[in-house]
């Protein structure tokens, strides 16, 4: 079983896994979900435990490696999981290969742009001059 396969060798014999394609996305959606489970709880708990949520406190907090790195990973996992999840919704509710392709491409563009904005902002916070 490799990334890209949704069934083990035995599973394939039993007729499990994707009938056509999409096994890779299926598995990736689950892997990113486990990442988000950990990173999401970390992010929410951190925000709850921060003494204040003003800009200065947040900049200082985000500049630490043990915060900036999980935050970057959270951004990547969240956008990736969203692309796979929205693709699944589009596949189930939108008829027609062309409509699906167009919608999925728009979603991908927005997700890449959003993730780039987030990572750029994070880079500015971490590597910029101290406030």
């Amino acid at each position: 079983m490799s990334i890209g396969d949704s069934a083990s060798d035995v599973g394939k014999v039993l007729g499990l896994g994707s009938a056509r394609e999409g096994g890779g996305e299926w598995l990736r959606e689950r892997l990113t979900s486990v990442a988000l489970l950990l990173l999401g709880i970390w992010l929410l708990a951190s925000l709850l435990f921060l003494p204040k949520l003003d800009q200065r406190t947040l900049v200082e907090w985000l500049r630490g490696a043990w915060v900036a790195i999980p935050m970057a990973l959270f951004v990547i996992a969240a956008f990736w999981h969203s692309v796979d999840g929205l693709k699944q919704v589009v596949t189930d509710y939108v008829a027609g290969d062309i409509s699906r392709w167009v919608l999925n491409t728009i979603i991908l563009f927005f997700a890449v742009a959003g993730a780039a904005l987030c990572l750029f902002s994070l880079g500015r916070i971490v590597f910029g001059a101290a406030a």
Binding site: S33, A78, L86, V89, L122
Partner: protein
């Protein structure tokens, strides 16, 4: 031999009695789509505002403390917990667990009760109920 033209269709979605499992299934999709679109938009704005400095962050705070912004944030908090809990349930059912009628129903109800409770606790804390 006469051909029966009005063949019985399998019962369609509209005639099923709604149960907690169906509610949780569709909530998982709705909260997933909501988090992907509204949640990630807020995350991107938040990081841009922190990187942008005091004035940019003040604009974000002004919007998030406005009654409408607060409703959106409370909604996103609930969506986060609902998607988190039904996501854990999803991962467990992916392994074949919890398909017995009783367990399936109980776990579905637990995700809804849990998400409402967790949202109340988080916002009670943020609004100073525990301060």
């Amino acid at each position: 031999m006469a051909v029966v033209r009005d063949r019985p269709l399998s019962p369609h979605l509209t005639i099923w009695r709604w149960g907690p499992h169906m509610v949780v299934s569709i909530l998982h999709r709705i909260t997933g789509a909501g988090l992907s679109i509204a949640g990630l938009a807020v995350l991107t704005w938040w990081l841009l505002a922190i990187a942008g400095g005091g004035d940019a962050y003040a604009t974000f705070v002004k919007a998030s403390t406005h009654w409408f912004g607060t409703i959106v944030l409370v909604g996103l908090t609930w969506a986060f917990f609902q998607h988190l809990f039904s996501g854990i349930r999803h991962l467990l059912t992916d392994t074949g667990m919890g398909f017995e009628l009783g367990a399936n129903r109980a776990s579905a109800i637990a995700t809804i009760a849990g998400s409402i409770l967790a949202t109340l606790i988080v916002w009670a804390y943020w609004l100073g109920a525990f301060a």
